[in-house]
C-alpha cells in the first residue's frame, strides 16, 4: 500500500489506511514522521497529543493533537476550519477535499502529522463571502449548490482542475470532479459553473 517516496507523498509514506490496518485500537496512537535517511530510526510520536506545525492557507498554524488525528479532523475540530466536511470518512465522496501543495487530496485519508512540511489550502483560503474567487462566484451564480454540504469539496476540486487545465472540455470537467459526490443533484449546474469560471478568467495570469 505504501507508495514509493516521492515529492508528493506524505512525509512518512504511511497512509491512514495502512496505518490503521497495522495499528490496534489501543495502540493507534503513534505515528512515524520525520524519518530521515541515514538516521538511527524514525521518530515515534505519541500516544499523547503532540504539537504539529502546519502551513494552512499561507499562515503558520500550530495544532496539538494525538498523532492518529486525521488532517480533516485537525482542520475541523482543532482549527475551526470547517469548510472541508466529514461525509464518508474513507475517501469515497470528496467532501473533505483540500489542496496539498496545489493538488487535491482527501484530507480524511491523511494524518495531520503527515501534512507537516506541506502547503495546505482549504476552501476558506480560496476566497471570502465578500471576495469570492471566480470559481466560488460562478458556483453561486449558476446555483451549483443546494444543501451545500458537498460544495466546498467541489469548489476545491474545481479550482485545482482549472489550475491544471484552464480550458477544460465538459468531459474533462466530469473527469476532474469524478471523485466528488453530491446527493442533492447539482452536477449539471457545477459543470456549468466550472466552464463559466474558465471562460471568465483570461488564461494568462489566471488565478482560479
Amino acid at each position: 500500500m505504501a507508495k514509493p517516496p516521492d515529492d508528493d507523498s506524505p512525509a512518512s509514506g504511511v497512509s491512514r489506511r495502512t496505518f490503521l490496518k497495522t495499528a490496534g485500537v489501543g495502540a493507534a496512537a503513534t505515528s512515524l514522521i520525520g524519518a530521515a535517511p541515514g538516521a538511527s530510526g524514525p521518530a515515534v510520536l505519541g500516544p499523547d497529543a503532540v504539537p504539529l506545525a502546519l502551513k494552512i492557507n499561507g499562515a503558520a498554524r500550530t495544532v496539538t493533537v494525538e498523532p492518529r488525528v486525521t488532517l480533516l479532523r485537525a482542520l475541523r475540530n482543532h482549527l475551526d476550519l470547517t469548510g472541508a466536511k466529514e461525509i464518508c470518512d474513507r475517501g469515497a465522496c470528496g467532501g473533505c477535499t483540500v489542496m496539498l501543495d496545489g493538488k487535491p487530496i482527501a484530507s480524511c485519508l491523511m494524518l495531520a502529522a503527515d501534512a507537516v512540511g506541506h502547503e495546505i489550502t482549504t476552501v476558506e483560503g480560496l476566497g471570502t463571502p465578500d471576495k469570492m474567487s471566480p470559481v466560488q462566484a460562478a458556483f453561486v451564480e449558476a446555483d451549483a449548490l443546494q444543501c451545500g454540504f458537498c460544495t466546498p469539496g467541489f469548489v476545491v476540486a474545481s479550482t485545482a482542475l482549472l489550475r491544471q487545465n484552464p480550458n477544460p472540455t465538459l468531459e474533462q470537467v466530469k473527469d476532474g470532479l469524478a471523485g466528488n459526490l453530491c446527493r442533492c443533484g447539482t452536477y449539471s449546474r457545477v459543470f456549468e459553473a466550472v466552464l463559466k469560471a474558465a471562460k471568465a478568467t483570461p488564461v494568462a495570469g489566471r488565478k482560479a
Binding site: N77, G83, E124, V140, Q146, V155, Y187
Partner: protein
C-alpha cells in the same frame, strides 16, 4: 364532537376572481379566501421579483466554507457522543457492560438502553460522551454487549413465507394496524386516497386486452451528505439543540415529551442543513433516538454534547425507502381506453409499517372506471423506513408506468398516445406536448431494439403524480423594517437546501418593491414565528402566504408614513424599484429608505398568520418525464443521455432554485434506477454496503443532460399561488429509464436496479423469444 349541536358559523370570507390554469388555456376562477387575506398572484399579476432567477442568498457562505452546519458547530467544553449499535439482527440483550468504557480517561458520561429486544442490526444499545471524537470512538468499542440471538429474516419474500421468523409478536406490532395480520404481513390495506373505484373484476372482464406483471424495487437509503445529528446544551432548565433536521418544531416537541420538560424551555436551531430527503422529519431518526440520548448525556456530564452519526450508522438506522414487490394488472379496450387498474403490493419498511406504493395507480388515469389498490406491509429485521421524496410513489410509478408501456406494446399503440387517451389532468396534457418536443419523441424506435449495432439508443417516458399539501393555519411570519431601511423576515421553518430562505426574501422584496438582496431572511429557529416540517413538498406553500401577508402589513404601515410626505392617501401608493410612489403619477415618489427614516419608532414590525387554503385550479400536481438512454448490448451497461422533466408547482417563487430541485430529483431517480441497492447479508443480517463506495450513487461521470421545465399553473389555493416541487419530479424517473431501456433493446426489466447482469440476461431472453 356530537355534543356540540350548534353548527359553527361559517368563517367570513372574501371573494376574488383569478385567472387560473396554464397561460395557454387560462380559466377564470372564483376563490373564497379568509377575511383579511389578499388577492392571490395569478396569470395576470405583474411580478417583478417572484418567478425570477435569484441565486441563493446564503451561497457566498456555502461556497467559501463559512456556512456553519450542525456538524460544524463546536463550543468550549463540548463533548463528543458516540452510539453503540446492535451488531445482530434479532436478539434479547442479556447484558451491557460499560465498565471498561467508563474507565477510559476522557469519558464523561455513559448511557445504556432499557429496551431488551433487538429487531435490527443498528439499533441503539449504549452511548458514550468523551472529550474528543477519537476517545468517544475508543470508548464505544470498549462497551461489551451480550446477546441471546434469535431467528431473523431480512428478505422481503422470505418474510412472507409461512413459518418465517416473526419480527413482532402479534401484540407488539407498532401503530396497531387496522388491517389483518398474518405472520410478518399486514394487509391488504386499501388507501383512503384513490384506493378503490368501481368493480375491478368487472373492469378486467370488460377489457379486450389485459397485461399483468410483477415488479421489484430494492431499498434505497436517503444518504444525505450531512449525517443525522445534534448538539445538546443545557443552561439550567433551558435546553438548546442545534439539529440537522427537516423540522425544528418536531425536534422541540419530541425532546420536550421524551425528557418531560416544557416545550417553551427547548430551543431548536437549524441554520444550514446538509440534506434530508425525508429522513430528517422526526425528533431523531426512525431507527435511533440519538437526540434524546445526546440530551441525556449532556445533562449527565454537565456539558454540551455533540452527537453526529457516521456514514455507516446513517445507512443502518436513519430510514430508507421501502423495498416493494408489486403486481399490476391493467385492462383496456382495443383503442387503448383503460377499463381497470389493479395494484397489489408487498413492501417492507423493515421493522416499521408504511410501505405502500399504490399512490400512482390510484390517482393517475383517474377516469379509469375500475381501480383497486391493495397494499401490504411486510416486517423484516432491518432498519425502519422513513418518508423519502414522495414516499412509495417512485416505486409505485415504476410498476404502473412500466405496465402502461407493456400495454401499449401489446396494443400496438404509441405509449404517449395511450397515456394521452387516458389522461385525466388538463395540466399533464399540456406537459406531454412540451416534454415530447424537448426530447424529440419522434426520434424513438418505432419497434423496440431496431437500431443497428451493439450500442442501441432508445427513448421512453413515464408519469408521476403528487398532491397540493399545505398547512392552512398555525404558521406565522414576522417582517421588520428598520429606520435605516433594512428589512428582515423571521420564520421558523428550516432551509434544507431547497432555497426556502431565498424564496421568502423574494416574497418580501416583491411586496415592498425592493430587490431580494435588500431583505435578510432568518430561518430555522423555534424562537421565530412557527413554521412547518419540510415534508410533503409543503414548506414554501405553507409559509410563503404568511410571509406575504406580514410583508403586506409592513408595507401598509410604511405607506401610512409616506402618504403625507407625498400629499397622497396611503391606499393610492405603490412600491417598486426601491421607491414608494403614487400609483397614478409615479413621478411623485420617495425612496424606500427615505420613507423609513421618517418612522416614529426604530422599527416597524408586522406579524401575520397563515390563512386557510381555498379553491385551487387543481388539487394535484402534474408531472411527466422523458428519458433517452444508450445501452451497450454486449456489456449490459446503460448510459443515460438525457432526461426531460416537466412539472407543475403552481407559480414558482424562484425559477432558478425550482429547476435545481427538479434536476436533483431526476438525478436521485436515475441513481436509484441504475445502481442504488441496500444489500443485507442473509447469513448474518447486517448491511454489506454501508458506505459510499459500495453503495453506489450517481457521480459526475454518470451525469446526463438534465432538462427541467416548469409549467407554471395559477392558482394553488393561497395568496402566492405556490405549491411544492421537492418530491414530484422523482416519481416518474425509475419507470422513464426502464421504458427507455425497453425502447432501446426490446428487453423489459422488471427488477431494479438495472445493473448490467440483469440487462444482459433480459436482452438475451428477448433475443431468444
Amino acid at each position: 364532537m356530537t355534543q356540540d349541536a350548534s353548527p359553527k358559523p361559517p368563517a367570513p370570507t372574501v371573494t376574488y376572481v383569478v385567472k387560473a390554469g396554464h397561460a395557454s388555456a387560462p380559466q377564470t376562477l372564483e376563490v373564497h379566501a379568509a377575511e383579511g387575506d389578499i388577492k392571490p398572484w395569478d396569470l395576470d399579476s405583474k411580478l417583478r421579483v417572484v418567478k425570477g432567477r435569484q441565486p441563493r442568498l446564503e451561497g457566498p457562505l456555502k461556497v467559501t466554507g463559512r456556512a456553519k452546519y450542525t456538524f460544524d458547530i463546536s463550543m468550549p467544553g463540548m463533548l463528543w457522543g458516540k452510539m453503540v449499535r446492535a451488531t445482530v439482527p434479532a436478539a434479547e440483550i442479556v447484558k451491557i457492560d460499560t465498565s471498561k468504557a467508563e474507565k477510559l480517561p476522557g469519558v464523561k458520561a455513559v448511557w445504556t438502553t432499557e429496551a431488551r429486544a433487538v429487531r435490527f442490526a443498528g439499533q441503539d444499545v449504549a452511548a458514550v460522551a468523551a472529550i474528543s471524537p477519537e476517545v468517544a470512538e475508543d470508548a464505544a468499542r470498549l462497551v461489551e454487549v451480550t446477546y441471546d440471538e434469535r431467528p431473523y429474516v431480512t428478505d422481503l419474500q422470505k418474510a412472507m413465507e409461512e413459518g418465517a421468523p416473526t419480527v413482532y409478536n402479534a401484540d407488539q406490532i407498532p401503530d396497531s394496524p387496522k388491517a389483518p395480520v398474518k405472520g410478518n404481513v399486514v394487509g391488504p390495506i386499501v388507501p383512503r386516497r384513490g384506493g378503490q373505484r368501481g368493480d375491478i373484476a368487472k373492469g378486467l372482464a370488460e377489457a379486450d386486452v389485459t397485461v399483468e406483471s410483477t415488479y421489484y424495487v430494492p431499498v434505497h437509503t436517503h444518504s444525505p451528505l450531512e449525517t443525522h445529528g445534534v448538539i445538546a446544551k443545557w443552561e439550567g432548565d433551558q435546553l438548546t439543540i442545534w439539529a440537522s433536521t427537516q423540522s425544528v418544531s418536531t425536534v422541540r416537541e419530541g425532546m420536550a415529551e421524551y425528557l418531560g420538560i416544557d416545550r417553551k424551555n427547548v430551543t431548536v436551531i437549524t441554520e444550514h442543513m446538509g440534506g434530508g430527503f425525508g429522513s430528517k422529519l422526526g425528533a431523531s431518526a426512525e431507527g435511533s433516538n440519538f437526540s434524546g440520548v445526546a440530551c441525556k448525556l449532556a445533562k449527565q456530564a454537565g456539558a454540551a454534547v455533540k452527537m453526529m452519526l457516521d456514514r455507516h450508522e446513517e445507512h443502518l438506522c436513519t430510514g430508507n425507502a421501502p423495498a416493494a414487490l408489486m403486481t399490476v394488472r391493467l385492462g383496456a379496450k382495443k383503442d387503448g381506453t383503460l377499463t381497470a387498474i389493479h395494484h397489489r403490493s408487498f413492501g417492507t419498511a423493515g421493522i416499521a409499517g408504511g410501505a405502500g406504493t399504490g399512490g400512482p395507480s390510484g390517482n393517475l388515469y383517474a377516469n379509469t372506471p375500475n381501480c383497486l389498490v391493495e397494499e401490504h406491509d411486510v416486517f423484516t429485521n432491518a432498519g425502519p423506513a422513513a418518508p423519502l421524496r414522495a414516499p412509495g410513489h417512485s416505486q409505485g410509478a415504476f410498476a404502473l408506468e412500466s405496465a402502461i408501456d407493456e400495454l401499449a406494446e401489446k396494443l400496438g399503440l404509441d405509449p404517449l398516445e395511450l397515456r394521452r387517451k387516458n389522461e385525466s389532468s388538463p395540466v399533464r396534457r399540456i406537459q406531454y406536448d412540451i416534454g415530447a418536443k424537448a426530447i424529440g419523441w419522434e426520434r424513438r424506435n418505432k419497434k423496440a431494439g431496431e437500431t443497428a449495432g451493439p450500442r442501441k439508443r432508445g427513448i421512453g417516458m413515464a408519469n408521476g403524480n403528487w398532491y397540493v399539501f399545505a398547512r392552512g393555519s398555525g404558521v406565522g411570519a414576522e417582517v421588520k423594517i428598520h429606520r435605516d431601511g433594512s428589512v428582515e423576515v423571521f420564520q421558523g421553518s428550516q432551509d434544507i437546501g431547497t432555497g426556502f430562505r431565498t424564496a421568502m426574501a423574494m416574497v418580501v422584496a416583491e411586496e415592498l418593491g425592493l430587490q431580494t438582496r435588500d431583505v435578510t431572511p432568518h430561518v430555522g429557529d423555534t424562537r421565530w414565528p412557527e413554521g412547518v416540517g419540510s415534508g410533503g413538498s409543503n414548506t414554501t406553500n405553507s409559509v410563503a402566504p404568511a410571509v406575504r401577508l406580514a410583508a403586506h402589513d409592513a408595507r401598509q404601515k410604511l405607506f401610512a408614513i409616506a402618504a403625507p410626505l407625498l400629499g397622497a392617501k396611503a391606499e393610492d401608493l405603490d412600491a417598486a424599484g426601491g421607491k414608494i410612489f403614487v400609483a397614478a403619477s409615479p413621478a411623485r415618489s420617495i425612496g424606500f429608505r427615505q420613507a423609513a427614516a421618517k418612522m416614529p419608532n426604530e422599527v416597524i414590525s408586522a406579524v401575520a398568520e397563515r390563512k386557510k387554503q381555498y379553491e385551487t385550479y387543481r388539487q394535484d400536481l402534474a408531472g411527466t418525464q422523458f428519458a433517452e438512454v444508450e445501452v451497450d448490448t454486449e456489456t449490459g451497461t446503460i448510459r443515460v443521455l438525457k432526461v426531460v422533466s416537466v412539472n407543475d408547482c403552481g407559480i414558482p417563487i424562484n425559477t432558478l432554485t425550482t429547476e435545481s430541485q427538479i434536476i436533483g430529483a431526476m438525478i436521485q431517480g436515475v441513481s436509484w434506477a441504475l445502481w442504488e441497492n441496500r444489500i443485507l447479508d442473509r447469513n448474518v443480517g447486517t448491511m454489506v454496503n454501508p458506505n459510499l463506495e459500495a453503495y453506489k450513487v450517481l457521480s459526475s461521470k454518470d451525469m446526463f443532460e438534465a432538462v427541467a421545465i416548469v409549467s407554471e399553473i395559477a392558482n394553488a389555493g393561497n395568496n402566492t399561488s405556490a405549491a411544492g416541487i421537492g418530491e414530484p419530479p422523482i416519481v416518474p424517473t425509475l419507470a422513464a429509464i426502464a421504458n427507455a431501456v425497453f425502447n432501446a433493446t426490446g428487453a423489459r426489466v422488471h427488477t431494479l436496479p438495472l445493473t448490467p447482469d440483469k440487462v444482459l440476461a433480459h436482452i438475451n431472453a428477448a433475443r431468444r423469444a
